[in-house]
């Protein structure tokens, strides 16, 4: 469960987020849509605890941080960061580690999980996604879609409350994207929250449980996917959906 209460962030004179509030249950997938440059990625980074914000607070499960705490290198921010895992648009796998090491790095060296256990778990997930044979390769030897799967596995190997994905459609390779969907749905079904930022409505339709539409730095509306798509309440949402259907 994520609770966002009135967070705001301004850089210089430009507001990136203005008074964004939302509540979102665990076990569901949330899609955040909207034109680029409207603060979707900024929101994601704030939820991950990697980007300080100016006003409001964010709560994940029972851990919360305020705007003041978000800019400090306090014990609290380190704990808060562990609540979520993030998959960046450009993935940023660790280039000096193999596929298997990318996934087991944090469980072994942060959580102190025995290496053999971590490797066994990672291998099971790799096999499930059909890339078990690549376990000893380095990231650069993989295709974009394969790299994305490794990045997702790296994040969920730490079993975070919330999984955050930024623009996953830019790397998704269509042949196997069904596997990725299943993986994310399974992960949500085990009581986790998944937040996906995307400009592609087509990708989120029939996959995300809820959709949130971001206008310029603000949250315009949020609803069940079908309802938001069929019956948008705001003119700006309607206009965006109209444009994205034409594309």
């Amino acid at each position: 469960m994520i609770t966002i209460s009135g967070i705001g962030k301004t850089v210089g004179a430009t507001p990136l987020l203005s008074n964004v509030s939302m509540e979102f249950p665990a076990g569901k997938i949330l899609g955040v849509i909207g034109p680029s440059g409207n603060g979707k990625t900024t929101l994601l980074l704030c939820i991950s605890g990697l980007l300080p914000f100016d006003r409001g607070s964010i709560t994940i499960g029972i851990t919360s941080i305020t705007a003041e705490e978000s800019s400090l290198r306090s014990e609290k921010i380190w704990q808060f960061r562990r609540q979520s895992g993030i998959v960046f648009q450009h993935l940023h796998l660790f280039p000096h580690l193999t596929v298997l090491e990318n996934i087991t790095e944090a469980p072994v060296h942060v959580s102190g999980k025995p290496k053999a256990v971590a490797e066994k778990e990672a291998l099971a997930l790799l096999e499930k996604l059909g890339i078990g044979q690549h376990r000893n390769k380095y990231p650069e030897e993989l295709s974009g879609g394969e790299q994305q799967r490794v990045a997702i596995l790296r994040a969920i190997a730490m079993n975070p409350e919330v999984l955050l994905l930024d623009e996953p459609t830019s790397a998704l390779d269509p042949i196997r994207s069904g596997d990725v969907r299943n993986l994310l749905q399974d992960f949500a079904a085990t009581g986790h929250t998944v937040v996906i930022v995307s400009h592609s409505v087509r990708f989120l339709r029939g996959f995300a449980d809820y959709l949130a539409f971001m206008g310029k730095s603000e949250l315009i509306e949020m609803n069940r996917t079908q309802q938001l798509l069929e019956n948008p309440q705001d003119e700006r949402t309607r206009e965006f959906l109209h444009h994205s259907e034409m594309n």
Binding site: S36, G37, T41, T42, S48, G49, L50, W78, R81, R82, S84, G85, I86, F88, Q89, H90, L91, H92, L93, F94, P95, H96, E105, A106, H109, V110, S111, Y138, P139, E140, Q147, R154, A155, M158, D166
Partner: protein
């Protein structure tokens, strides 16, 4: 053709071009402290008198003492007048005039040293003796099997004696009188010994010039000019009368024999010193470079400024000057390091400035997102640095670091300036001893290559190994 004309001009013109080393050259030839544009010294006055006697004009050509014979034979000047001693090895490649002065050698120690009163004491107690390179005293010491430390000028030698870097200094009495006699912390050990002669050095092909000079030396002795000059410099003693009564061969000749096996072993030892200096300096540079790089890129305003000042100072001034500063400047504030340590520290401090820039660019080349991924996986900054950022930065930094290390290897040769017996110093000394700049030079180059090539090769292999693992950065696209 041009050369022939020049040498014709040298013969025909009434100019006697004489060479000497004026740096630390008192009281022979040195810049007049009262009037630094002009030179003075007993050899300066003697050369003027000699030229006048030969109805020529004296023209002083400043040169470097260690390679003075090579310069004479390269025709940079016509004669050497520089407290120049006849030795058997020199006799093979040049002519000597008759002596115009007889000198003696004096051993000097620190005032509080009561153990050394003769050269023999140095040998039995295993103490090192400093002296000028390429002179009668150095030949005497080398042949006698003493531990010798060669200096480019007397100032450095006596300064090191005062600082305890050597335990005794052997020098011609003339230099000893000028540089050491009045120093309250030094004292003569024993009486002056060994009689040597100062002569004029002349090219082998100039026998006519040699006989004219001999005639002039006799005339100057007969008409009292020589005595007047040396009395003025308080260097006249009854010893000089021997020159008139007994003829020319009344002095001891030192010589230098060169044993190739011994020479190669000496070079090998010098090469070991070079390796030691390079590795020592690199360790300092690699370690000190990290805080400098972090301070400059992540520190506060003051830290950042201090790091930048340090880096620009060491990159912007010659390493040779830095070494001289550390070696001769630091003792003024009470810090006296031995030569080898000065070289390691000096080169280390210098290269730390370069390494810090290599690290800084390497760390900056690792995308900020790598830190963020590590943080979101629960790593703290130190762990993120150690396990994620450093391994990536290291492979970016490796090629420039290898370059720097090879450069540092060669830069250890600057240590010759502070009397460290490394490979370049060994080259100068042995090449001087044999006059085989080419042969010994090639051997020295081979030694350097034998050390730097395997290094470059190993670094290249390591690079390839890391590269095979991964090329470094996957994507560095900008994200919102």
């Amino acid at each position: 053709m041009l050369l022939a004309l020049q040498s014709l001009a040298a013969y025909g013109s009434p100019t006697l071009r004489w060479g000497a080393d004026p740096s630390g050259g008192a009281p022979y030839v040195y810049a007049d402290p009262a009037n630094p544009q002009t030179y003075t010294g007993f050899d300066y006055e003697f050369a003027e008198a000699l030229a006048r006697q030969m109805r020529m004009n004296a023209e002083f050509v400043p040169t470097d003492w260690e390679s003075i014979v090579a310069s004479l034979n390269r025709r940079e000047f016509d004669v050497i007048i520089n407290g120049f001693e006849p030795t058997e090895d020199r006799a093979r490649e040049m002519l000597f005039s008759k002596p115009y002065y007889l000198f003696r050698l004096q051993l000097t120690v620190r005032k509080d040293n009561n153990l050394i009163s003769s050269l023999q004491d140095c040998k039995t107690s295993g103490k090192s003796v400093g002296t000028l390179v390429n002179c009668a005293a150095s030949r005497l010491l080398e042949n006698g099997g003493y531990i010798v430390k060669g200096y480019q000028d007397p100032v450095g030698a006596y300064q090191d004696l005062e600082l305890g870097r050597v335990d005794a200094v052997l020098m011609d009495v003339a230099a000893e009188m000028f540089y050491a006699r009045r120093n309250p912390s030094l004292k003569p050990a024993g009486k002056p010994f060994h009689t040597g002669a100062y002569v004029v050095g002349i090219r082998k092909s100039d026998s006519l010039l040699a006989s004219r000079i001999n005639t002039a030396i006799d005339s100057l002795a007969d008409n009292g000019t020589t005595e007047r000059i040396f009395r003025k410099w308080q260097l006249w003693d009854d010893e000089q009368l021997k020159l008139r009564t007994k003829g020319a061969e009344t002095y001891d000749m030192t010589s230098r024999t060169f044993n190739w096996t011994e020479g190669l072993i000496k070079l090998l030892k010098a090469a070991a010193v070079t390796v030691f200096l390079a590795f020592g300096a690199m360790i300092i540079a690699v370690i000190l470079g990290i805080p400098l790089a972090l301070g400059q890129s992540k520190g506060g305003r003051i830290t950042r400024t201090l790091c930048t000042v340090y880096i620009e100072f060491f990159r912007g001034t010659p390493v040779l000057v830095q070494l001289l500063f550390l070696y001769f400047g630091l003792p003024v504030v009470g810090i006296t390091l031995p030569g080898w340590l000065t070289a390691i520290v000096g080169l280390g401090l210098n290269y730390a400035a370069y390494e810090s820039q290599v690290y800084r660019t390497a760390f900056q080349a690792v995308p900020e997102r790598q830190w963020q991924v590590a943080y979101s996986l629960g790593m703290r900054p130190f762990k993120a640095f150690r396990r994620i950022i450093f391994p990536q930065a290291f492979r970016i930094a490796l090629p420039p670091m290898t370059n720097d290390f090879v450069a540092l290897f060669k830069d250890t040769s600057t240590a010759f300036a502070i009397a460290v017996w490394e490979l370049a110093t060994a080259y100068r000394e042995l090449a001087n001893a044999t006059q085989s700049y080419l042969g010994i030079g090639l051997i020295v180059c081979l030694y350097y290559l034998a050390m730097s090539l395997p290094l470059a090769h190993y670094a290249h292999r390591l690079e390839r190994k890391l590269q095979r693992k991964s090329t470094g950065i996957l994507t560095s696209g900008t994200e919102q």
